[in-house]
Amino acid sequence: MTTTNTQNGSAESGGMCEQALDYAYDELTGEAKAAFERHLPTCARCQAEVASFGRVRGAVRAVMPLVEPPPASAQMGSLHAQLMHAAAQRRPAGKVLSFGGRVKKVVLHPAFAMAASFVFVAGAVGLMWSHNQLVTPVATPAAESSVAPQPVVAAAPAPPPTGVPAGTTTPSSDPSPTHASPVAGNKEAAGRYDYKPEPKVAAVKLDWLSSRDTSKDKGGNEALKTAHKGKGADAPMDTRLDASGGGGRKSVAAPTTVAKPSPKYRSGQPNNDSYALELADGKKLRVTEEKPAEKNVERPKVSNSDDTVGGAAALGRSQSGEGLTAEQQRPGAGQGSWNGQVRNFNNSSNSAGAKPSSTRGDSQQGYYGAGKAAQGPAPTAAPAAQPTMPPPAATAPAEPGAQTATTKQRSLRENQSQGIEQSTDSSRRKADELARSGRCDDAEKVYRSLEKNSAFRVSVAERLNLVHCKSQAGQFQRAQDEIDSLKVQKRDSNQLIEREQEFLDKSRARRAPMPQQASPYVDAPAPAPKSPAVQAEAPAPAPVQSSPSKKSKRAADTAADKAAY
């Protein structure tokens, strides 16, 4: 159509014809509209276009009028309601907040609270980490021993009657781990076997045992040493031997007691377990065992319900005769205290018992369970006839003391029966008590049951305890067998074994009756001792496997004993 605008041959009119559409839709205004209106009468083509546009628009408006949306329909109404609801739900764009408003908006946001909490916790953790306070509270031995409280048994002041320096028995605050103190182990052995400390043996073989016995030193050995110093000729035989230090024998080196209680005592709430013991004089002695929260850890306390004295120091005095009545100072009474339950107080228990197999050397093999399993239990000696009694004549009148010892042993047996199943440690402690109290067979049974039912291995020291016990009980042959076995198995512990051998020899020599002291056979059994303990076992003339020097030494001891008698 636009090409036909030039039909009139006028370019100006052709440009005007381009505006026909605008004129038809009334979009021309002012001068443009007037110019086109002037052009329209002169241009037939523009007139035709405007007319055709008008007809089409008329027809469209006629057939396509504006339609009202259906407001009456429910759908439309609901759509409109939804639309207005959506418009109302819209939140207008807020104005720019001030700085305080921004801060408030940020602070009140939940994410900010979470972030702040995280930052706080992380900062606290980081601070603790930087101060090494986040370390898990592992009980290091050194740290625990540094804060070790004073042992209860050592708290009671027990002045040594024979001039033993108090400082020697005062537990020190050695921060070293208890199971790594060879000195303590040797001290324990010294207090029991009268020997000088040898760190090598204890360090290599008996480290755990020494640590266990360290706790005993704080009470038991202290009392024992006190008793050693205070007893005289009426004292039991073993203690007299120990006390005879300067008389041509090896001097007893007063061990420096380094009492280190078990670290386990310092944690947990104590669980007291007390029981009463009846002493020879009829006094009641209350033994309190504080059991910490840890398993198989006991902490004995000793209190005397009748006497005002308490603790192992008091017991030490009772053993040495100090502070006791004449009845208590009798040999029988002292013996009862010594071999009886009093020794139980020395067992402040086995801090190292928690790891017996790991701390012991490999050379410590099963004893009762493997090597000596076939060894039957020895006949039980009469409880009243303690082997450490001095002469039989002195033993006979000590019937009340024997009864007291029987009572104590009964209570001990009850305690044993109750506690032997509790744990290996408690059983070991019981066995140790039995061995020290002279009940060698019972102790051996306990050791066997321990080896049978658990991974427990009888240590050299415990076997030596048994040897000592058997020596005291007059079971020389069995003691000798034990020593021989130890000599074969334990070459590193030869010194301990030798000392025990010496003790056995001396016991044999002393057990021999006076008329036969001139007999050249030192190991010959006593012909007819009236003591039931001697009747219980007829010691065979066991060959003493000792060196000639030992024999000469034994002869010298025998001569010394002759002179004493």
Binding site: L21, Y25, G58, A59, V67, M84
Partner: protein, 199 residues
């Protein structure tokens, strides 16, 4: 408020005045509905699309600036929706080639228009003319048809249509010319009827 311009009303609604928006809806819902109805040729779809147009207006209220004309902005939204709907409708029509040509909606619309605006004696002519016009408009290309509808139904100026469609104004006018030529050719046989209908 009813005398305020669309732009001021829209600004008030942007600031939170819901009543201003209601005025805008009431003011533009009829032309929008007609434009969409002519475009999609379905009343229900037209209602939904009108609803959707105003909902988009609500969502975009924060970004509205007075620089643009409100009607241009509103029809741009509606036109985009119609184009999308037209594309989907073409896809559906391609899938159903056996569907009958002409639907009852269109006839109903023609009948409704005839009932309101045309006299009883011209109903038959208008019905026939409306059918013919409907067919001719549907036969227009989309770019011509949308311009024709925006100009004839929505009564928008060419510059506004150019802004809505996004093409130059001369292109809009050119397309409008082509659309009118085709409709005139279609109405050539019914010029007398058209004259009768117009009268």
């Amino acid at each position: 408020m009813r005398d305020d311009s669309d732009e001021s009303l829209m600004l008030r609604y942007r600031d939170g005045d819901v009543r201003a928006f209601e005025v805008l809806v009431n003011r533009h819902r009829r032309p929008i509905f007609n434009f969409v109805l002519r475009f999609v040729r379905d009343t229900a779809v037209a209602e939904d699309m009108m609803q959707e147009t105003f909902l988009r207006l609500v969502k975009s209220a924060d970004s509205y600036e007075r620089q643009a004309k409100f009607t241009t902005w509103l029809y741009t939204i509606a036109r985009n929706l119609c184009v999308d709907q037209s594309r989907r409708a073409k896809h559906r029509r391609a899938q159903s080639l056996d569907a009958p040509v002409g639907d009852e909606e269109g006839m109903a619309l023609v009948e409704m228009v005839a009932a309101e605006q045309i006299g009883q004696d011209r109903r038959a002519i208008s019905k026939e003319l409306a059918g013919k016009m409907k067919t001719a408009i549907e036969a227009l290309p989309d770019e011509q048809r949308e311009i024709f509808l925006l100009r004839e139904v929505s009564d928008l100026q060419f510059n506004e249509i150019a802004e809505i469609v996004g093409v130059p104004e001369n292109t809009v006018k050119s397309r409008m010319r082509y659309a009118l030529e085709k409709l005139r050719e279609a109405l050539g046989e019914y010029q007398d009827l058209a004259k009768a209908a117009q009268s």
